[in-house]
């Protein structure tokens, strides 16, 4: 049967004539199709290759970002001042967000808010909505576990400042993306910031990485930064400053503590202050590190530099008599007054009793150039270079422009301006044997050499005068510390507003202790104290006493006086300094 059928077909095929163009037509069509395919293949292989490779790679490999956290800021003992911890933010594309009312309610429970508020947040923006900003990773994990469509999470870091407002102006803070915005956080951005790394991996069906494919760019974690600050001293300085600012209703204030051996700033407190952990509505001016970025006319705290210069040039000796006249000195049209004239004074007593006339007379016995050089060598008119952003140089005009009256007023600290750190640094000259120490906000190892400015003899002589100023008969008996000999100088300066001296004051005290072998320089400044007292000795002196006493105890500095050494003058016989 099959044979017959085949035979029939064959016979049929040979007998039927083929149309003449059928074979070439079929070949032609097939050839065209092949040519088309070949062309397409060539096109994909060469021309469109990159795009396809990319698409292909996306199917099985993935770029993973490797987070790098920002370095910590720590104090000199390694206690944390600023630390970053990972946080998550939840966000969504508004049109992709698709949650049932039940899911929304569950999400609201996890995020501790109400469904209404969440819905409002989603619809507030047309394309992009943040549902929760910087929440703990565990909370984010619970939110993501609800598997709500369109809900995404993002890794972020949040910076915490455990010290809060105590050292806020020094440490500063970071802004968006964990980048430094103020203070040390800003100045040391490149040191602290981490470098995000990345790696390309092959993923399996479940999305787990199974193999590294390309070279890994390792993440660089930010480096830790140790400041010179001693948290305990910083706290004491802040606490005492705060108490004084509140007691005297001062507008602002600052305290600086410097180690005389190393030039490290152990404490730097400012008021008003702010909490860097919650700074949404904080005025810019509270963020300013006034001790470094604001200047004031120092007043009588400048007198020791005038006297030291005179001692250096040999114009006077510590026991030379200065005739302070009747408490007035007329220079051209101007007259300098001592409100509490005391007759002839020795050079030592000029410092002890803070006589303006005495300081002016000594200053006028020297060329302006000499005085300018001495002030400039003491670091006035140049920024203290602590490594803090925005520190100012203060104002010290060139000697050529000084009029005699200006030379006289500058000798007691008017007509020039300084910042508090500069002033504290300048006092390292008397706290050491005449060396100006470089000051820093960063931890250093061991003592650093200073720049010799005055001779050891002069430094010791001025140190003795400054110690006299804190004893009965001086302007600052309230600066005394039980168990330690202290030395220092008060300043009570009228404030210059516009070109007029007002009846507002800046009260200050700069000193060091123990006087027998100074270890710390402490500078205190209160801006516009009111409520009766405004003398440096009454307002800033007690702050100095409390801070210095606590600091020396904490540092374990041996006492150099009996503990009952504090002798206060009887009421009514206090020595008032000139303003």
């Amino acid at each position: 049967m099959s044979g017959a059928a085949t035979g029939f077909k064959r016979a049929d095929a040979t007998s039927l004539p083929l149309p003449r163009f059928r074979a070439p037509a079929v070949f032609g069509v097939l050839g065209l199709v092949f040519a088309g395919l070949l062309g397409r293949a060539l096109y994909l292989q060469w021309v469109d290759n990159d795009f396809l490779q990319e698409k292909g790679a996306a199917r099985f490999s993935r770029e993973i970002e490797l987070p790098a956290h920002r370095g910590r800021v720590v104090d000199r003992f390694g206690d944390v001042l600023a630390v970053s911890t990972p946080m998550k933010s939840l966000w969504t594309f508004s049109d992709k967000f698709d949650a049932s009312p039940a899911e929304l309610a569950a999400l609201a429970r996890v995020l501790e808010t109400t469904p209404q508020k969440l819905a409002a947040r989603v619809s507030a923006n047309e394309d992009f909505a943040v549902l929760a900003k910087q929440i703990p990773p565990e909370q984010a994990a619970r939110a993501m576990a609800l598997k709500i469509k369109g809900l995404n999470e993002q890794n972020e870091y949040r910076r915490y400042y455990p010290g809060g407002e105590v050292a806020a102006q020094v440490v500063g803070f970071t802004g968006d993306k964990d980048a430094g915005q103020e203070g040390i956080e800003l100045a040391q951005q490149s040191w602290l910031a981490g470098q995000v790394g990345s790696r390309r991996v092959i993923i399996n069906r479940r999305g787990d990485a199974v193999e590294d494919v390309a070279a890994i760019r390792a993440p660089q974690a930010g480096r830790d930064l140790a400041l010179s600050i001693d948290s305990r001293l910083q706290y004491v300085a802040y606490r005492e400053l705060k108490a004084a600012v509140e007691r005297f209703s001062a507008r602002a204030g600052g305290v600086v503590v410097i180690d005389t051996k190393t030039g490290e700033i152990l404490a730097l407190a400012n008021l008003p202050t702010y909490n860097p952990n919650a700074r949404n509505k904080v005025a810019r001016e509270r963020m300013r590190n006034r001790a470094l970025t604001d200047v004031f006319e120092p007043g009588s705290t400048m007198k020791p530099f005038t006297i030291a210069t005179a001692l250096e040039t040999g114009k006077v000796r510590p026991d030379s008599m200065i005739h302070t006249e009747v408490g007035a000195l007329t220079i051209g049209p101007n007259t300098i007054h001592d409100a509490h004239p005391a007759g002839p004074l020795t050079v030592e007593q000029v410092i002890q009793k803070s006589s303006n006339v005495g300081a002016a007379k000594i200053a006028l016995s020297m060329p302006a150039e000499t005085l300018w050089h001495a002030f400039s060598d003491a670091g006035f008119g140049t920024p203290p270079r602590t490594g803090f952003p925005g520190e100012v140089a203060g104002r010290l005009r060139p000697a050529k422009t000084w009029k005699p009256i200006e030379q006289a007023t500058m000798s007691y600290g008017h007509g020039l301006s300084v910042n508090l750190v500069q002033l504290a640094r300048a006092y390292t000259i008397f706290a050491t044997d005449g060396e100006l120490k470089p000051v820093t906000l960063f931890k250093t190892d061991g003592p650093v050499a200073g720049r010799p400015v005055v001779s050891p003899q002069t430094a010791r002589a001025v140190r003795k005068m400054l110690e006299m100023a804190t004893q009965p008969g001086g302007t600052a008996p309230k600066a005394q510390v039980p168990g330690y000999r202290v030395a220092g100088k008060t300043g009570t300066a009228r404030k210059l507003e516009g070109r007029v001296y007002t009846s507002k004051y800046v009260a200050s005290f700069v000193g060091f202790a123990p006087a027998s072998n100074p270890r710390l320089v402490v500078a205190v400044m209160l801006d516009e104290p009111s409520g009766g007292a405004y003398y440096g000795g009454d307002v800033a002196g007690p702050v100095f006493s409390n801070v210095t006493g606590a600091a020396l105890r904490m540092l374990g500095v041996p006492t150099d006086a009996p503990v009952d050494n504090v002798i206060l003058p009887p009421p009514g016989s206090e020595i008032r300094e000139e303003t």
Partner: protein, 92 residues
């Protein structure tokens, strides 16, 4: 001829199989490495949080408050302080 071919074939199969096993091992170890690295990151995070916690508990302001209020501690007045000079001669 046939024998040597058979030996080579056997060697080839053995190599191929060992490649498969080592490849599998590599993947398994890699996954393990991944997991450990994730753990390391997590510990790092935890370390940061613990540090934060430590410095929050140890804040001088808090320590002082507890010392003064709960433990009723205070600085001794000068009259109750005696300083022992260890450098002086004659002291034990």
């Amino acid at each position: 001829m046939t024998r040597s071919s058979l030996i080579l074939l056997g060697a080839l199969v053995a190599c191929a199989l060992s490649l498969v096993t080592s490849r599998h091992d590599a993947r398994r170890l890699f996954v393990e490495l991944e997991r450990e690295q994730a753990r390391a990151r997590q510990f790092d995070t935890e370390y940061g949080q613990l540090q934060l916690e430590q410095s929050t508990w140890g804040m001088p302001a808090r320590v002082e408050k507890i010392a003064r209020e709960n433990l009723r501690m205070q600085l001794p007045p000068a009259a109750r302080v005696e300083i022992v000079d260890t450098t002086a001669k004659g002291t034990p």
